[in-house]
């Protein structure tokens, strides 16, 4: 009897919440437009591929051979030769202004000496201000030069070329090394936590602001009922987002889904609970919607973005910071979502992450219930 009354109160609260959400004009923007647009934008922007690096060439040789080398660079997807100058000091302005990220200097006499056995040196200069991109671009340039050299040698003496060893590198899971395939699932994870945590962080504090929370507090509704009644409607909205965002990832970006879609949904639901619990917890400790928004953003979401491995690899962080990352639910979900999308692994590989998320979600929801202002102060 008691139980039935509690269930009825919870259902009534859910019904009320959904009605209010349905009539909130901001809802469409927050739940549908913002996540899809952000995924589209970030899917294109959040890429670590270094392609079409603008390059200036100082060609002091002006021979057929030097032009072949320049074409070699220009034909590669990684470089675009913007223009060719004659002396190496002429490349300075381009590197300073940023119109070129990289310079190639070919010395005079390069063409004449090629094939004579005299070692030839070409110089590659890179703008190192963005050290990551510079390293990647340099790697590409070195690989290109090595391949070209090998080809030249082979043309002259096939025997010499065959004598060397041949290392074949095979890349698993993302053979084309498409950074988008890696980033889009990450963006999906990030968007879900941002949207659902922010929405649910408004849930209770909004009622406190308009005064209805106090009204609810003098009714027989219990705090567990309050939290569950608030949680479920937002979970429904979160699920709508999950479907939308996964659809964009699969259909628009054509990120391969190698694992099970069902498993992805189930684990995403667990992840959603942690985000919703987090939002509700913030809601119970805030006095105004603005405060809730700021708390969610600066105390939870920003550290989450930096410490989850979304931006910086966790393996590179100092040990103490690495421990901190265990507190971040996004960390676990990133492993899950990337594992299912790219590696096609199942629960046998992902259960530690799934368990961590479940524990995290239960803990934060428990905290939210305990902190709920239904209590008498």
């Amino acid at each position: 009897m008691r139980m039935r009354a509690a269930v009825r109160r919870t259902l009534v609260l859910m019904w009320k919440e959904l009605l209010e959400l349905k009539r909130d004009p901001r809802l469409l923007n927050i739940v549908i437009l913002a996540p899809v647009l952000q995924l589209l934008m970030l899917g294109y922007a959040a890429t670590t591929d270094v392609r079409n690096v603008p390059m200036v060439v100082a060609d002091a040789d002006r021979s057929v051979a030097s032009r072949q080398l320049i074409d070699r660079f220009n034909d590669s997807p990684y470089f675009t030769v913007t223009h060719v100058v004659t002396t190496v000091d002429q490349v300075d302005p381009d590197l300073t202004k940023g119109t070129a990220w990289m310079a190639l200097s070919i010395p005079a006499g390069y063409g004449n000496h090629l094939g004579t056995g005299v070692p030839q040196t070409v110089q590659v200069i890179a703008d190192g201000s963005d050290s990551n991109s510079a390293t990647i671009a340099l790697g590409n340039a070195t690989a290109l030069l090595a391949g070209y050299t090998k080809q030249l040698v082979a043309a002259r003496s096939p025997a010499a070329a065959a004598a060397g060893f041949d290392a074949r590198i095979r890349i698993w899971f993302n053979p084309r090394l498409e950074s988008r395939d890696f980033m889009v699932p990450g963006v999906l994870a990030l968007l879900l936590v941002v949207v659902t945590a922010i929405m649910s962080s408004m849930a209770i504090v909004r009622e406190r602001e308009i005064g209805t929370l106090e009204q609810l507090n003098v009714t027989p509704i219990g705090r567990g009922e309050l939290i569950v009644g608030k949680l479920v409607p937002y979970a429904v909205l979160g699920l709508v987002d999950v479907v939308l965002v996964i659809a964009v990832a699969l259909l628009w970006f054509q990120v391969p889904l190698r694992g099970s879609l069902a498993l992805l949904f189930v684990l995403t639901l667990v992840y959603l609970l942690t985000a919703l619990g987090l939002g509700l917890f913030v809601s119970t400790v805030s006095d105004t919607q603005q405060q809730a928004m700021m708390t969610a953003m600066f105390f939870f979401l920003m550290p989450m973005i930096y410490l989850s491995g979304f931006v910086f690899p966790i393996a590179n962080m100092p040990r103490v910071i690495q421990w901190l990352t265990y507190l971040i639910p996004l960390r676990y979900y990133l492993v899950i979502v990337r594992g299912i999308f790219l590696k096609g692994v199942g629960l046998e590989a992902l259960w530690p992450q799934a368990a961590a998320l479940a524990v995290w979600g239960t803990a934060i929801l428990g905290l939210a219930v305990a902190r709920s202002t239904k209590r008498v102060r």
């Binding site: 019904w15 009605l19 209010e20 009539r23 005064g211 009204q215 003098v218 009714t219 027989p220 008498v376």
Partner: protein
């Protein structure tokens, strides 16, 4: 009114917020069916007292029972026996009238048959016939406030707490609201209400005047007016009340003065009522004076008198 034991008893109730004593050693009782008014300035402790009686706030010390239930030991039990409405009309503005009623009925666990009956009652008392599908935010303040009261008493509680229920509502709506309170009281419902308005306080069977967390005076309207026994109040019509007050303060017969509408009220000591002398003083100061006549003390006079004595 008194049908035996008090339905609300308050004994040495105290609430501190840090060093600040919001409610200080408060004791009183409220009879069943009584309209009990709390009068006092902002921050006098009225709302804090109501919140403790509703089980929203724990007392620091002292005890209180509401409908026989101890507010400290069983706040949830208290909540089942009361209706509460605060100065913010606590309805969901994005919901329609019907949806709001349905929501609170669901929270209070009304049966289907009961719901039909109470729904009709609330619609009727709020004057919302045919407007069940209107969004609550589109309703005028007075109507919204009656609807809020209706939602707060859907479960027919025997005790109702109203915390400044008529703030920001037009006089006609206020009058209508008070007729509802009178009806509730006539049906045996105990109503404890806080207000700033003196005319509203006159509706109450008994009034408690609070000052700085303490009970400054308690009694029926006529009991409170009895505080002026032995002193008399005269109302003076004059073109310049501010100047008149300054002049009167120097008169030995005058205890104190206050502005009352466009006139001045002067409290005279010990039945000393030489009105001619007062008139002479005022005209000597160059003021035009209309009528000077003794008047019955109003509740406002009582309130100001109590405040003055508390302050000194």
């Amino acid at each position: 009114m008194n049908t035996g034991a008090d339905t609300i008893t308050v004994d040495r109730l105290t609430r501190r917020f840090g060093d600040f004593v919001a409610v200080d050693d408060l004791s009183f009782g409220v009879h069943q069916g009584e309209i009990f008014g709390f009068l006092g300035a902002n921050g006098a402790g009225k709302s804090t007292t109501i919140r403790m009686l509703c089980g929203l706030l724990l007392p620091t010390s002292g005890t209180a029972t509401v409908g026989g239930v101890d507010v400290r030991r069983d706040p949830e039990g208290v909540k089942r026996r009361i209706g509460y409405m605060s100065q913010k009309f606590s309805l969901y503005e994005q919901l329609t009238v019907d949806e709001n009623i349905r929501f609170f009925a669901g929270i209070y666990g009304l049966s289907r048959a009961k719901f039909e009956e109470r729904h009709r009652f609330v619609i009727e008392m709020a004057g919302l016939e045919g407007r069940g599908r209107s969004l609550t935010r589109d309703l005028p303040g007075g109507v919204r406030q009656r609807l809020a009261l209706g939602c707060a008493i859907l479960h027919e509680p025997p005790i109702v707490f109203l915390d400044e229920p008529t703030g920001g509502v037009d006089p006609l709506s206020r009058r209508r609201f008070w007729r509802l309170i009178d009806t509730l009281s006539a049906q045996g419902v105990t109503v404890l209400v806080t207000t700033h308005y003196m005319d509203e306080a006159e509706h109450c069977h008994r009034i408690a005047i609070m000052h700085a967390g303490r009970l400054a005076a308690l009694g029926t309207t006529s009991e409170l007016k009895g505080l002026f026994r032995g002193r008399s109040i005269v109302e003076i019509d004059t073109g310049n009340p501010v100047m008149a007050m300054r002049v009167l303060q120097d008169a030995p017969a005058v205890e104190k003065t206050s502005v009352f509408g466009t006139a001045v009220h002067a409290v005279l000591r010990h039945g000393d009522d030489d009105l001619a002398e007062l008139r002479q003083r005022l005209t000597a100061a160059g003021l035009t004076v209309g009528a000077i006549a003794p008047v019955e003390p109003s509740l406002e006079d009582v309130f100001l008198d109590v405040m003055d004595r508390r302050a000194s």
